[in-house]
Amino acid sequence: MDFSSLNAVAMIVLLIGAATPILLAAIGELVVEKSGVLNLGVEGMMIIGAVTGFIAATTTGSPMLGFVGGAIGGAVVSMLFAFLTQYLLSNQVATGLALTMFGLGMAALIGRNYNGIKPPRAERLDVPGLSDFPILGELLFSHDPIIYFSIVLVFAVWWFLNRSRAGLVLRACGENHDAAHSLGYNVQLIRFGAIMFGGACAGLGGAYVSLIRVPQWTEGMTAGVGWIALAIVVFASWKPWRVILGAYMFGGITILQLSLQALGISISGAYLSMTPYVVTIVVLVIMSADRKRASLNAPACLGRSFHASH
């Protein structure tokens, strides 16, 4: 077998591209879950972000406004979920699943006139001198701005959750919402905000798929990335840095299987395509095997509705 055609540097660059939408959606969901809410509608918010971002970019001609449009689109649909679960106390799992189905259908409806159009190209970073530097230049200084933004965002989320008072209050709501309420915090409002942040991140991730990864609009183009993002939050045991690890690992496996398919390896393409998903399941099983540890890290009120009794 000839592996010489596999260029390591090019593959890593591709890997980062494949991992970024997952990373964005997962870091948003991590904040949502830390506040004690389980939003299974990540996939739905992503696809809405993909289509609203695509429309914003093609109408204005600016990819940056496209990303903003994607984030807003994701945040707006997430408000639907937030209102239903926080104020009407609907079941979070059922509402999240409904949000995914709603998003997929809604996105197809909004985007029906945008099939087959090319979006404006997002410029890659080009630092004279640095970007031309062999290997390192390509690895570190030749990406689109969203990739850098996603890394900064992870750091910002880590800082927010672990160093700021607002982040501590958010974690407190996820740990024990009754206690947080009795201390005088507005649990519903805090969770509402967290859900919107998660929606914006998922929307941004979706816009990344339709504007950079593919780049064009087709129905159902997020292809399960939202579900992977959900799994990666668990894989990361709700720790921001591990989300990067999980997302890049998943991106790596995706790129590797594509490259192997391109090499024409005799394993059926179907098996290779399923490897990233199989690996995710296996990792989740391993992570969940130690129930004590898993429950130590998980926010104690995850998925439970909060209703103030007084």
Partner: protein, 505 residues
């Protein structure tokens, strides 16, 4: 001394109940003031109004000469009113310092706060490490966190709701020392407790509530526990003397029971062994979190264990689930009333069905016999004096004490061979607690064996024939309750097994 808080004519109604009716009393600066009353007398509603969690319908409060009507706890805290709740508002997965920050309105930075915590905690004799996780702390230590959280805000009035119900006698002493020191420094304390001996020892004044009204005031030092209890219930207190204990044949034997706790902050059981005879009440004492939940789970069948480690009437049942054990006569009532012993949203009838199905044959051929089930629920309500509008109401609508009577009554009326109860009178007023204990006592007299797990030592001393302590998942050898001193037991509860062995010998 001058008046710190002057309460005049406070009233609060909920649909169908007058929780507080024209309540008036005064708290002086630096005084320890007790609030007495049965469950449902309106103590909680009253303190929630003072703390700003509930708004009164009418009436006024004056704090330090200023009108005081806190719309939210935040405002109460700003005016110097702090509260330590019966159920702590703590976050297990966060550190002590983080928990304290969350309860403060203006928090200093981390380093400063840690230093303050160390300083205040040493000053008042409540040592605490700011960096430890709450989940790793004992109940007594958790309470310290709550108290220190309050003290860091320089309160003028500290409200304490049932602070000692989960502490060891030594921890109670420490707490009282702290409270007296606070009182010397001019902080007033509003103290709610069912333990009248403690109130007698600690409090300067007492206000007695019954059915939402102030019915009496007294100076506890001049009263007896009995006279205060009678003020609370407004009648004679019936105290039943312990009956003679004549052990019968072996009912339950536990041999070398080991169980790893499923709770990350739980305690695993290690080599627990004991024998229980018919007619015997075994009291299991110990500080909460030393394996109480686990031992209940292992005995009730919620956790299956090696079959031969639990023998009921000589038969191995360790591998059976709860229903199979019920069928064979081993019944249990867990501590958590809502969500564990009873389904909160279901009616009393439905809750009666949930554990009574097998032994009361409430669903012959798999179809619920509604008339029989309602009859069973009504029997519990009647025989155990459960105060409720009817058996059709949801379990969560009952007050804690009434639901507890229902939960215990439901098991007792199924005539078990062995009954295991955890904290049967937790948060229950004196009269109801006495009737629950009486029911357990009668059950034992009729030939059943009973295990009472409790943190209330006075209760265990009153009710149990034999006594053992659970410390860090190990059970001491049961021994006759007569002749054990509270001090010895207190040391055993702290995990001092040398005392346990010494008492043993």
């Amino acid at each position: 001394m001058s008046v710190l808080l002057d309460i005049q004519g406070l009233s609060k109604s909920y649909p169908g109940v007058k929780a507080n009716d024209d309540v008036s009393f005064q708290i002086q600066e630096g005084e320890i003031h007790a609030l007495l009353g049965e469950n449902g007398a309106g103590k909680s509603t009253l303190v929630k109004m003072i703390y700003g969690l509930v708004r009164p319908d009418s009436g006024t409060m004056v704090l330090n000469g200023e009108k005081f009507a806190p719309p939210k706890p935040f405002f109460a805290r700003q005016k110097g009113v702090s509260m330590v709740f019966q159920h702590f508002s703590l976050f297990e997965a966060l550190t002590v310092a983080e928990n304290i920050t969350l309860g403060m309105d203006v928090a200093p930075n981390r380093k400063e706060l840690s230093a303050q915590i160390r300083k205040v905690s040493n000053e008042y004799g409540l040592p605490l490490d700011p960096d430890r996780l709450i989940g790793d702390l004992s109940v007594g230590e958790r309470q310290r966190v709550e108290i220190i959280r309050c003290l860091l805000q320089d309160p003028r009035l500290l409200i304490m709701d049932e602070p000692t119900s989960v502490l060891t006698p030594q921890e109670v002493d420490t707490l009282f020392g702290t409270l007296r020191k606070l009182s010397e420094n001019g902080v007033a304390i509003l103290y709610i407790s069912h333990k009248l001996d403690e109130i007698k020892a600690l409090c300067d004044h007492a206000t007695v509530l019954r059915m939402g009204k102030v019915v009496d005031t007294c100076i506890p030092a001049n009263e007896t526990a009995r006279s205060m209890a009678e003020m609370m219930i407004g009648g004679e207190l019936e105290i039943h003397a312990a009956t003679e204990f004549t052990p019968g044949a072996e009912a339950l034997r536990v041999e070398d029971l080991n169980l790893a706790s499923k709770d990350p902050f739980g305690t695993s059981l290690k080599n627990v062994s004991f024998t229980l005879r018919k007619g015997e009440i075994l009291g299991i004492g110990g500080v909460a979190g030393n394996g109480q939940d686990e031992i209940l789970a292992a005995l009730s069948g919620e956790e299956k264990v090696t079959p031969e480690t639990i023998l009921l009437g000589g038969k191995a049942i360790g591998g059976d689930g709860p229903n199979a054990r019920r069928e064979k006569g081993l019944l249990s009532a867990p501590e958590e009333r809502l969500g564990h012993a009873a389904a909160p949203m279901m009616t009393l009838t439905q809750n009666a069905f949930l554990t009574g199905r097998i032994r009361k044959n409430l669903a012959p051929n798999g179809v619920i016999n509604h008339r029989k089930t309602t009859g069973f629920a009504e029997e519990i309500v009647k025989k155990f004096d459960v105060r409720t509008p009817g058996v059709h109401v949801a379990a969560k609508a009952l007050s804690g004490g009434n639901l507890q009577k229902f939960v215990i009554g439901r098991e007792v009326l199924q005539s078990p061979e062995v009954l295991v109860v955890n904290q049967p009178t937790w948060g229950v007023d004196a009269a109801a607690a006495a009737s629950i204990r009486q029911a357990l006592r009668q059950l034992a007299v009729s030939g059943a064996a009973v295990i009472v797990i409790s943190q209330d030592l006075d209760e265990l001393m009153e009710i149990s024939d034999t006594f053992a302590v659970l410390a860090e998942g190990r059970l001491s050898k049961p021994q006759p309750s007569d002749g054990l001193s509270i001090e010895e037991i207190g040391l055993m509860m702290g995990g001092d097994l040398e005392v346990a062995n010494h008492v043993d010998a």
